[in-house]
């Protein structure tokens, strides 16, 4: 199933026809936003555009295609494959992942019970974020993460503010480590991924929709603290990868995994290495890959060693 089909299957029939009739490069399409009583908004090639009544893009609100309550309900039925209950846990977090790894964010009336979100009903807005894998984006970085003398990977932390490409880079690192590299004579290793927010593997019904390599085992929607030790005990990974560490619990679990002989690859929000040092997250890591906070997503500002010296 290609991306066009994956996406169009999510929408009500009228929207499907309108989107199907347009000449869109789905690689440039980033987001589709539906809100009841509002025109359909598309983020295409980093620019906001409206979907026209007759299809095509428009800039004028009046000429936009307005979403009705029934259409949003129908769309939600298709998104959940007629099974809202099966996505109850994901909906509590405000998003769910569909086939192809696309992320669907939802908004509406939140039902709270005992100070915890129980569910979301009367869903009135939906944001479809299209998954884009960038295979090969880690190729340039990987040689700097290899301890050549010992022939092993370094414990690595990718640092950047949100939306700068940390997860995309980590995903490609996982794929690289798992597959190995014939050219550089690097053997593939077993990688365990704890994917708490379903962003790395974008699992649909437990199956990763993104390519994480042939030696990767994944725990989807699993809290990092528990998942790391679960993987160490059950899957004996050589490398453990987790996205967005932050809490002391995450740090402890990663230290435990490192003590068990696993190499740790992780990402964290931050501006630079000192930011991470101030939060005490730096102790186990030997390499810090810092991404640029401005410009194109995924651009590398520098790679630093444990002493804070720039090595690339």
């Amino acid at each position: 199933m290609d991306k066009r089909e994956e996406i169009s299957r999510l929408f009500s029939l009228r929207l499907r026809r309108l989107l199907g009739g347009m000449e869109i490069d789905y690689e440039k399409l980033q987001e589709i936003r539906l809100r009841i009583g509002c025109p359909v908004v598309l983020i295409y090639d980093n620019r906001e555009r409206l979907l026209g009544k007759e299809g095509g893009f428009t800039k004028e609100k009046e000429k936009g295609y307005y979403v009705t309550k029934n259409e949003l309900r129908e769309t939600m039925e298709y998104i959940c494959n007629y099974s809202m209950y099966a996505f109850e846990e994901e909906l509590k977090q405000g998003f769910l992942t569909v086939q192809g790894g696309h992320r669907i964010g939802v908004g509406g009336k939140v039902i709270v019970e005992m100070d915890r979100v129980k569910n979301i009903k009367y869903i009135s807005c939906v944001n479809i974020r299209l998954a884009h894998e960038v295979k090969g984006c880690a190729d340039r970085v990987m040689p700097f993460l290899l301890e050549k003398k010992e022939g092993r990977w370094s414990h690595t932390l990718v640092i950047s503010p949100p939306r700068c490409g940390k997860t995309t880079l980590l995903r490609d690192m996982v794929r690289y480590i798992s597959e190995g590299n014939k050219e550089n004579q690097i053997m593939g290793l077993t990688v365990g991924v704890v994917d708490e927010r379903s962003e790395l593997g974008a699992c649909y019904l437990g199956v990763p929709q993104n390519d994480l390599g042939m030696r990767t085992d994944i725990l989807d929607c699993c809290p990092k603290e528990e998942g790391i030790m679960m993987l160490v005990r059950s899957m004996s990974p050589a490398v453990i990868a987790v996205d967005e560490i932050g809490s002391q619990g995450d740090k402890k679990a990663l230290e435990q995994a490192a003590n068990c002989g696993c190499i740790v690859f992780a990402t964290a929000h931050g501006a630079d290495v000192s930011d991470i040092q101030n939060r005490g997250l730096d102790q186990i890591f030997e390499r810090f890959v810092v991404l640029k906070s401005r410009g194109k997503a995924g651009e590398i500002e520098g790679i630093y060693n444990r002493g804070g010296q720039r090595i690339c």
Partner: protein, 173 residues
Amino acid sequence: MLKAFGAVLVLVSCGAAGIFWAEEKKRRLQSLHKLQQFFMALQGEIRYGGTPLKEAIEIAGGGQGRGSLYFVFSEIASRMEKREEGSFSKLWKEEFQKGAKGAALQNRDLERIFRVGESLGLLDRETQLNSLEHYLSEISCDIGQEEKAIGEKVRLCRWLGALAGVFICILMI
């Protein structure tokens, strides 16, 4: 001679109609049993696996053998995969209406099935499970009644067929 031949034909056809009618009664009971199995499996899939409806229908319907109900379930799953226009309850209703004749289901059975279809796929898992529970208790009650009466009904149908044939023969002769 011709009259005798005609009488034999009437007797045979009326007898066959009686047997067919009796078989229909048996077929309904079999269908109710299959529906019971299906909905029990569906309930398990939703309760313990949180399995999406399409997969749950495929799994629960897979154990039904190649009867007309099996085709109803597989058709529902395939239409769900295609994401055809309309809500799930509409799709569910249409497919059961198509398959009802082959499964010898009565209007009363269909109405109950349609009611269950309206609650499937909702966000609230409990409501669905309660609805399935309610349906299962209704269907097991129906099966109990039907099992008690089936022997009598089958005999009655067969005799009625044969006696109707005799009655027509007498009238003709």
